[in-house]
Symmetry: C2
């Protein structure tokens, strides 16, 4: 590592942004090293034709690593598409609830699953199975509270609510035979999941899995055979059936970054069990500091549903919250302001946030409470 | 510039890929320089929150530069979306031909406009105003040949056919009052256009305007008010009306790259008039070399409709074509194989391909003909 690089690294901050979010430094360094000339190709990875062998190998290796990390069964397709969760919100009902009289069953547990439900509703396909709004999206439902639709062709839930900081720690028990569709945008590859429990898992990449512009769809192949009212880009099968699963030009650079993130997870972290242990440790460090000053800090989430990815909390006053965020920034702890819909603070501590960053924040949490409590 | 950088630059090839395509070297160098720490922010541009002031300024500057370069009138919105031309193919009919009994009128002049027509047809909204298939997509229609639909709510055409190498050098004369929708994916910002002649211009970024993952939509605001059958992400107005025109997380890094490309066009090239002159010179150099060996080389496009962006040609035999592509690669002239649907060779000479690269290719074109003619 040369001197210029060390300086740039020293000047980096701990970035607690909810996404786009911090990336592993070794990933950024590898991108930088090969930016003008990707492995002897004579061009940047951004300039590679998506139909050329060099890029096709990048995409295949990205998929292979993701399959290994998540232990994805062979009967699932892995699609690299665009448009984020919001485009999935439209594609899911068009593809999976096209048959007359069917609906998607939605667990509305926060801002993101609410959008998913509303987008399905606009297509006449949304059924509200549980609404967390009366509970200020501070807790998740028990299985007994959920009113499943009798005509559901799928169940949709959001495994981690990025804004409200609540996370499913077990899979909801959908009616037998109804496939579970999971928006895992903010916790994909943060812990092991049993993919066979799901019909489909999707995620935008810019939290744990890479950068903005890539949406990952892991879908059981039998769901591709359903009657559909989707056409063109909106049809999952068009993507799955295309040569090299490229229906059109995919977001090549974001796919490359996701490949590097997967490599980092495999080679430097050691897989998702190990990543999950690190993430539990990180979250414990931060929640412990907040709990030590209970009363001064008010966490949003019910204790059992606390997210390991997004920690939402506030103090007694918006003015004190603002001071917290501003002072933290001077300690090189960045992007701690909560989402405007909830106020307060939010610390996103995704895979790439090192324990040292969380420890620095926990120390600041304690100091700030002592100075202002 | 340090030694490592010069070496990487020396080892770069001339990349004639149709897209993703070559980028201006100063753009790549700027990306590399600030990759770990964007202008003192302490983070990579890839890690910036899309709702933070630093990224919002990147997006605003990108839009401002594009408006200056293209002289975009105030009554047009500039949207940065995802999904490429293929998603636009679906969004256009849903947004602009939703009223009962209306259609989109399509000029099918090559592979890409054919996809656009077929995607509209799948939605029951496509009318074929002219079909270039019987002409092997080697020429464009005269205005007299076009059978306009009486119930068209828009006319769609593709200003440059990337695969077949033909390009409109004037705007088709659509019936009065019917807005022109132009897929300008492979010639956006390669020459000045009068934006007021169009209802909407769209382009994927990975040819002249940046990298894969960003789709640029320039749309006249009155078209946003039409009756629509689009909802959610598919609704143009949802994008235009969102705060900072971000309906959801945009492809932040590709937007940043497009901003740098626009800066290069403004500050290093000197605007689109100058860029167009350079592009005319480059195309003239290559077509002249091919025409000098007419008979040995067979250009695909009719002379009057030749593209200044994609030069498609072949020799008398596929074996000789293969030898041309392989030998050229050894001369550091890369990605010259034609699209599989057409065979032969294709040289894409977008904005970022320097004149020196085209001259090197022209020299090789002559040498190869002399050795094999």
């Amino acid at each position: 590592m040369n001197v210029a690089l060390s300086t740039a690294q020293d000047q980096r901050v701990y970035n607690f942004s909810a996404g786009p979010a911090t990336l592993p430094l070794p990933v950024l360094e590898e991108i930088k090293d090969e930016l003008l000339n990707y492995r002897g190709s004579g061009m940047s990875v951004m300039e590679l034709s998506h139909r050329g062998q060099t890029f096709i190998e990048i995409q295949r290796e990205t998929e292979r690593r993701m399959r290994e990390l998540m232990n994805i069964p062979a009967e699932y397709s892995v699609l690299f598409v665009q448009g984020g969760g919001r485009l999935q919100n439209v594609m899911i009902p068009l593809n999976l609830a096209a048959a007359e009289g069917t609906v998607g069953d939605y667990l509305v547990t926060g801002a993101w699953s609410k959008y998913s439900f509303q987008d399905a509703q606009a297509l006449g396909r949304g059924h509200l199975a549980w609404d967390g709004a009366p509970h200020r999206f501070a807790r998740l439902p028990s299985n007994e509270e959920i009113a499943w639709a009798p005509n559901a062709s799928y169940v949709h839930f959001t495994s981690n609510e990025t804004i409200h900081g609540i996370q499913f720690h077990s899979v909801p028990q959908a009616p037998r035979g109804v496939p579970l569709i999971c928006d895992s945008s903010s916790d994909l590859m943060s812990r092991p999941v049993r993919v066979a429990d799901y019909g489909m898992i999707y995620a935008c990449a810019q939290k744990n899995a890479g950068i903005a512009g890539l949406t990952i769809v892991i879908i059981r192949r039998d769901l591709l055979e359903r009657v559909t009212s989707a056409s063109g880009y909106l049809h999952y099968r068009a993507h799955a059936d295309s040569e090299d699963q490229m229906y059109n030009t995919p977001p090549t650079f974001p796919i490359y970054v996701t490949g590097l993130v997967c490599k980092w997870l495999q080679d430097e972290i050691g897989g998702l069990e190990r990543m999950a242990a690190i993430n539990r440790d990180k979250a414990a460090v931060l929640y412990r500091a907040l709990d030590e000053h209970a009363g001064f800090y008010i966490p949003h989430a019910a204790r059992n549903d606390r997210s390991l990815m997004n920690v939402a909390f506030r103090t007694a006053s918006p003015e004190l919250d603002d001071r917290f965020v501003a002072e933290a920034r001077r300690h090189r702890l960045s992007d701690l302001k909560g989402h405007r819909s909830l106020g307060g603070m939010r610390a996103s501590i995704y895979n790439a946030m090192p324990l040292a960053g969380v420890e620095a924040l926990a120390q600041f949490v304690r100091d700030f409470a002592q100075r202002n409590g």
